[in-house]
Structure formats: structure tokens, C-alpha cells
Amino acid sequence: MKIAHLYYDLANLYGERGNVAVLRHALEDQGIDVTVDKITVNDAFQPADYDFIYIGAMTEANQSLVFADLLTHQQQLARYIMDGGFLLATGNALEFFGKIWNNNGKEEYGLRICSYSAKKLEKRLMAEVIVSNDTLKEVCGFQNQSCGIVENDHPWFTGTELGMGSYPDSNQEGVKFNHFYGTYVIGPVLARNPHVTQHLVKEWMMSHNVGGYTEKIKEFDKKAYESYKNSIKKVD
């Protein structure tokens, strides 16, 4: 199994490297051999060479550098996602994959793989988050974003218990389209939500006909998740 950690040096705003680390540990726990390639702008990159692609959150200035490079991979990335390839985009990395995104104040075409658009917010949004969908309950984290997404036909989460959602008061969070997973929940979202990590591992194994999945959540990860969830819910 090969993971591409895209723009590892530009898109690691809030400890995002944690997502790659825990994904790797969870896959290894299932007995899968994992290699991680760190890839950045101007590097040779073929999405089809990888089994999982990850891009994290970044500053708005770095978004310009990253997008210019991403654009050179547009067709291959579109094919990768259409063919059911796994890609996780956290924080503002998700903005690139829709129709329109905001390049430092200017609206520009995105990669146009998905149908949503990113829209600049009047004020930077920072909040603690708890979101859920039918299979993943109470995904916890933190949002910190200058844009939101609109016209989102494929939300990943449809219940927002805490936080503002992907767009203020939208009550939806993130995007799931085939195996493209996007969320504005920033930082080490997988480290913080071991059930989400397990879900991705299980989905990946199923779609790649790798058998033998059993849920393996470490005790400390479970306790850390519960403790963090209770602390942002203000439960003692």
C-alpha cells in the first residue's frame, strides 16, 4: 500500500502530519505493508501510482503555490477520483476540488472534479466541531477557515452538533464523493477520531478486496477521543 502525502511541506498547518502517521499505524495493525512518499510542488507525481492520497490544510498564501502545481495533475487526479481512488483532503485543501475557489481574494476555477464551490467568508471562522453521519458518529475537531463551501450536493456529514458546518449554518460538513473525502475539520482529524481512521481503513480494504478487517482501536486512542469529546462538550 502506497500513500502519497501531497505538499507535506506546504500543507501542514495544524499538525496534519498526524493524519498520515495514524493512518499508517492503523493499516499496519491490519497487517498491511505501508510506504509513504512525501511529495511537493515540481515533484514527479502520478496519482495512479498510489493507493491513498492525503492533502492537509495550509495558509492562503501557500494555497496559491499548491494549486498551481495541482493544476498540472488535474486530469490524472480527476480520473483517480472517478475510478474510486482514495483521497482525503482536510481543511482548506478541500476547496481545490470543486468548481470555484478563492485564490487570495480572486475567484478562480478549481479542479472541477466535484460540484461545490468555495466562497470567502466575511470573518475567519474558528470553532470546536462535532459532526455526524449515519455511520460515523460524533467526529470531533476544530475548524479554522477563511472560506466556506456552497452548492454541496455530497456532504460527508449531515449533522452538526458543534461548530458551523462547512458554511455557516449549513448543518452539513465536508464532502464525500466516491472515495474523495473532504472536511474542513483541521489538524490531525484521524488521530483525534480513531473511528474515522478505522472506517477509512475498512473502506479501503473492502474496495481493494483485502480481507480480514477487524476493528483495532488502541485503548489510549479510545480514551483520548472520549476525553477530548467530553471536554469540548463541556461534560465532566
Binding site: N12, L13, Y14, G18, A21, N144, S227
Partner: protein, 444 residues
């Protein structure tokens, strides 16, 4: 009106001193009475302002102390009072009722985000930026927001004093038409070829967008760097550390000047280097400066030692949400290859706000700890489980983890369950708690 505002501020300052509090209140009240009061009073002709992610407080305090040793009357804001109210209090305290200045020099620690407010009223003669990196993201948004706020308040009248080893800081001089002086460190024994974490807060040339090349990293974002096209290279230093003798706690500037540091911790070199640079730029008496640097004992303690049941202990105050600070502490711990127990923890994520984002734990390089030299890792406080999970992913074995939810039990737990030298890399609130526990132990 002006006199009345100054009088009110001075009265509140006096009352505050009696009850030992209120370093920002007098200024806040004065600003509410007259938002323009600071532009109506006299500011010392010579002023030094210091900002940056780390090192502000120690550096500012030492600069103030050095000026005082050289016979200057110094106005200086004590640690923590670096927001607008604190600065206003200081300035109002340093003038007469008619607004005339009683001091020779103003030495100011300024919060990164508040410089733009403070510099509305006056521009410092010298503006020092110690370093800039990811810090309190839940408050700032991110480091570019902080950078923009600092860049916006710089005027060409200011003499910038910048850390040449930090490419992000050097960017502040790109459009500056006033004087700039750089300081830096040539090399340290702890230098590495790779950064502690993959990300630097500025790792691409701001001009040609090529990835910057680093010959070596001192720590964090700091090191010897250049742009592959030479569009943006590490500038030449007027004050450069050319030799470090940690054992004797001294370092050499420009090949000849020998300067003392407190403890064998790297960041203290930057602090004293800045102090030396400022004192040289202000033509203070060299001999007095050097002997003061030798004799100072910081009242701001980020490093403390103790013994407990015959075991050596260190308290390394490590700022939550500020990986550059935390990583320095961990690097110090990792240099000791003998058996040790580490203590990590905090009561609150932030002393400033209630948002509880722990993302920064993954920008802290716990991976530098070698599990084989660790007896136990004691995770303390309400976030003990979150810390434990992070440590386990960094390679500490589950059986090495001890969870202690009650901060007050830390020392007892360490004594009962662990062995080896004790390294507590903890936030301010836990450092205080531990110091208290160690003190009460001594009294028994």
C-alpha cells in the same frame, strides 16, 4: 483633560501596587477616558521594542537590566503586560502629570498582534523580531496572519534588528527602506540536516517560489539557508555567534567577544545575542554590559532544577501551542541518553482563551524521544489521555505510560512508579504546580 487622565492612571497604578495587581487596568481606563492619550504624552527619545514568537520576555527584561546597569532610567513593561493596556500603563507611569517624560529609555515587550495598536502612538527607535513560527493557532488563525500584522506596523523610521537565521523574519526587511541589523548563529553542536517537523513556516523563496535550501537547522525554523537562485539568501550578520561553549556557559560573537549565558540552553544564546547587539548599537559601555550579562539571574524562569528522593529533576517550561518552544525542551531531554522519566501535562490548553485545540501536539516532535532510554512517561492533568495517545503514536510503549489525572499528585506518582532523572516538559500552570510540590516536599 490630559492631566486628569494621567492623574487617574497614576492613582490606579498606586492602588494596584498596594494590592499587587492591575498592570493593564490603569492603561485601559486611561484609554477609555481619552483614546488618544498616548499621542499626547512624551515618549523617551530612545526606545527598543521586542516582539516574536519566543524569547520576548527574557530578552526585553535583560535589555532593560543592561540599560539600568549602565545608569539609564528605564521604563520597561513587566512580563505579561504586553497588550495595549499594559503598554499604556507603563507609558503613563513614566511621565509627569504634565506628560513630560521622566525616563531615558523605553524597553518594550510587544505582543505580535498588538504591535499594530501600540505603534499607532509612537514608533520605536529599534524594533527587534526574535523569531516567528506557528503559535496559538486557535487565537491567531495562522502564522501569516501574525506576520501581516507585524509587517503592517513597520515604518521606515524604525531600525529593524532581525534574526538572520529565520527566513520568515527576514522577509520583514524586503521592502524596508530604513536601517536593518541582523544577528544569527553560525552553527551549534545540535544542528541537524533535516528539520524537526516537515514544515517550516516559510520554506519557499518569497520572490521566485523555489524551495529554500538549508545547509543546517539549529532548531525550529532557524538555521543557515539560501534560495537556490539566490533571490533571497540569509543576510550577513553584524552580530554572529561564531563559537559556543555550553560547558562553561559562554559564547563568542564575531570571533572575539566572549559573552555569558544562563544555563546550557540554546535559546538563551539568541536572547543574550540580541541584548549585546542592542547595547552595541546604543553604544553602551561594553565592560558594564558584559559583566551584567554574567551576573543576571532571570526572574522569568523557564528552566529549573530540583532533587527528589536523590533523583535529579528538571522543570522545562514548554509553551502549549508553541511547537518551537516545546521542541527545544524535548531536544534538551533527548540529549541525555541515561535512564529518565518524563512528565508532560497542563491544566489548561491556553492561559488566554477557552478554545481547546490540541492539533499542535502533532507539531511537537515527541518522536525525538528514545523509548529505550525512558523508564516511564507520566501524563498529567485533564488532557492526560490525549497526551498518552500522542506519545504512543510517537513510539513510547503503552506499558511505559502512567496516567495521573490529578496535578497535585504528580510528584508522589513520579516517586512511587518511576525511575531515573526526572524531566518535566510542562506548561506554565503545571510548572507552577510542580515547583509548589517540590517546595512543600523540602519543608517536610
Amino acid at each position: 483633560m490630559k492631566m486628569l487622565v494621567i492623574l487617574v492612571a497614576k492613582l490606579i497604578i498606586r492602588v494596584g501596587k498596594l494590592v499587587h495587581r492591575g498592570s493593564t487596568l490603569p492603561g485601559d481606563v486611561a484609554l477609555r477616558m481619552d483614546p488618544d492619550i498616548l499621542s499626547k504624552i512624551e515618549i523617551p527619545k530612545l526606545s527598543v521594542a521586542v516582539t516574536g514568537t519566543t524569547g520576548k520576555t527574557s530578552t526585553t527584561q535583560t535589555i532593560a537590566d543592561v540599560f539600568a546597569s549602565c545608569g539609564y532610567k528605564v521604563a520597561h513593561n513587566l512580563s505579561g503586560a504586553n497588550l495595549i493596556g499594559g503598554v499604556a500603563t507603563l507609558l503613563l507611569d513614566s511621565v509627569t502629570l504634565s506628560g513630560k517624560c521622566k525616563k531615558d529609555v523605553l524597553v518594550l515587550e510587544v505582543d505580535e498582534r498588538y504591535a499594530k495598536l501600540v505603534f499607532q502612538y509612537f514608533q520605536p527607535t529599534y524594533f527587534v523580531v526574535t523569531n516567528l513560527s506557528r503559535d496559538q493557532l486557535a487565537r491567531h488563525g495562522h502564522y501569516d496572519v501574525v506576520y501581516d500584522d507585524i509587517a503592517r506596523c513597520i515604518t521606515d523610521s524604525m531600525h529593524l534588528v532581525l534574526n538572520a537565521d529565520d527566513p520568515f523574519v527576514c522577509k520583514l526587511a524586503l521592502n524596508h527602506k530604513g536601517p536593518v541589523t541582523y544577528f544569527g548563529i553560525k552553527e551549534t553542536a545540535q544542528d541537524t540536516a533535516e528539520p524537526e517537523i516537515d514544515t517550516l513556516d516559510l520554506c519557499y523563496c518569497p520572490k521566485c517560489h523555489e524551495k529554500l535550501h538549508f545547509d543546517r537547522y539549529h532548531y525550529g525554523n532557524l538555521g543557515i539557508w539560501n534560495c537556490p537562485n539566490h533571490d533571497y539568501d540569509r543576510p550577513e550578520c553584524a552580530y554572529e555567534v561564531t563559537g559556543i561553549d555550553m560547558e562553561n556557559q559562554r559564547f563568542t560573537i564575531n570571533g572575539s567577544e566572549s559573552v555569558a549565558i544562563q544555563h546550557d540552553i540554546l535559546y538563551n544564546i539568541y536572547n543574550n545575542l540580541v541584548v549585546y547587539a542592542i547595547s552595541d548599537l546604543c553604544r553602551l559601555d561594553r565592560k558594564t554590559v558584559l559583566s551584567s550579562l554574567k551576573s543576571f539571574n532571570f526572574t522569568v524562569k523557564r528552566f529549573d532544577t530540583f532533587t527528589c528522593d536523590g533523583r535529579d529533576g528538571y522543570i522545562l517550561t514548554s509553551k502549549n501551542e508553541t511547537p518551537i518552544s516545546y521542541n527545544q525542551s524535548l531536544k534538551y531531554v533527548s540529549l541525555d541518553s541515561s535512564l529518565k522519566t518524563i512528565v508532560v501535562g497542563f491544566k489548561r490548553v491556553s492561559g488566554r482563551y477557552d478554545l481547546m485545540d490540541l492539533s499542535w501536539l502533532w507539531d511537537v516532535n515527541f518522536e525525538c524521544l528514545d523509548a529505550d532510554t525512558i523508564d516511564h512517561a507520566v501524563c498529567v492533568g485533564p488532557f492526560a489521555n490525549e497526551l498518552a495517545a500522542r506519545l504512543v503514536h510517537a513510539g513510547i510503549r503503552e506499558e511505559q505510560i502512567v496516567i495521573e489525572p490529578v496535578p497535585g499528585n504528580t510528584l508522589q506518582t513520579v516517586k512511587d512508579k518511576t525511575k531515573g532523572t526526572i524531566y518535566a516538559t510542562v506548561y506554565f500552570d503545571m510548572a507552577k504546580e510542580l515547583t509548589k510540590l517540590v517546595e512543600s516536599e523540602k519543608r517536610v
